[in-house]
């Protein structure tokens, strides 16, 4: 208790904001059905497009808002450093786990709140073992694979060397058309 008392105030309010953002995020994930194995597996089997609809409309809304705030000088971006060795191989391993487990790290927290015991007992333990295993192998993987094909913290507008909005607007239009097409196709 004493330790937390001497923490700077800023740190504590950051934790409270984190909790608050999480509660809203979890509430929305449940309302979207994304805390359910059947919905996620339905997406990966291409029979239920709920997850893609949620993700693409979040990206559409988030992208336009964040780039507007960036243009106004109110926020900065935090793109992650990437490499082909990291993002392609890691992404494919993640994809296998995504389908075998039927939840991802965010939605499994929501699944636990929804009462799903395969998430709490099996999946959560597995994720903790998997991340621990990665931490143990990190020095070796880092030397051998993770930096292969390093491209840094590039964003698409930087990659194409154009103004942000030259990419934001076409991506927004493409997402809109894709969602429109999904609805028209009855998916």
């Amino acid at each position: 208790m004493k330790h937390s008392e001497i923490r700077p105030r800023k740190d504590k309010s950051s934790l409270v904001w984190g909790l608050g953002f999480g509660i809203v995020f979890g509430f929305l994930l449940h309302k979207g059905g994304a805390t359910k194995y059947d919905v996620i597996i339905g997406q990966l089997l291409l029979t239920d497009f709920t997850v893609v609809k949620i993700m693409l409309s979040a990206v559409f809304t988030g992208m336009i808002g964040i780039y507007t705030l960036k243009t106004l000088g109110l926020v900065e971006l935090y793109p992650k450093y990437g490499s082909f060795g990291k993002n392609i191989i890691g992404g494919l391993i993640f994809g296998v786990g995504f389908a075998v487990l039927g939840y991802c790290p965010g939605t499994i927290a929501g699944a636990i709140g929804n009462g799903y015991l395969d998430a709490l007992i099996g999946g959560l333990a597995g994720i903790l073992i998997g991340t621990g295993l990665f931490a143990a192998l990190y020095p070796r993987l880092s030397r051998a694979i993770l930096n292969k094909g390093d491209f840094g913290d590039l964003t698409l507008p930087q990659l194409f060397k154009v103004n942000d909005w030259i990419v934001v607007i076409p991506v927004a239009v493409l997402i809109f058309l894709l969602l429109y097409w999904l609805e028209r196709a009855g998916l």
Binding site: K31, E76, Y103, G123
Partner: protein, 172 residues
Amino acid sequence: MEFLTQVRWSPYAVGIGIGILSWFSFLISRKPIACSTTFAKTSGMIEKLFRGKKVDLKPYYQKVKLVVDWQWMLVVGIVIGSLISALLSGDFHWQWVPSIWANAFGGDPLLRVIVALFGGICLGFGARWADGCTSGHGISGTLQLAVSSWISAGCFFIGGILTAHIIFKLIG
């Protein structure tokens, strides 16, 4: 306030809500919404309970410090938020085996838990390898138009779609 007790909302309402939430997390907390680092921290914290302070010295935990931070609380919040929504809409129930799994492989909880454990190991390992998950890369990274996130999100779905088809079309 009837919308609060509905079990499901339109996926577009939910997605737009998550998008707007991301504006505020950038504005207020100066951080994108992400989840998977929290599991790596928790794993290290549990290991530290058994093996003591030397766990902090592992190179990976020099990079990802073993402390409760903003994102750790966010993941706790997800559990609470989902629980609130589930309780309000009468959708909370204890369940071992989801129905698509049960239709293909039967209702044995032990089999489902063992498979979920194995899936979780791949998911946790892959999330740390790719440096992000469906939230950090799939939503927050792609909306920032990060190259690393578009590649990762594509690979999440390529790997996931292929594996799901192998499980349910070839095996099940």
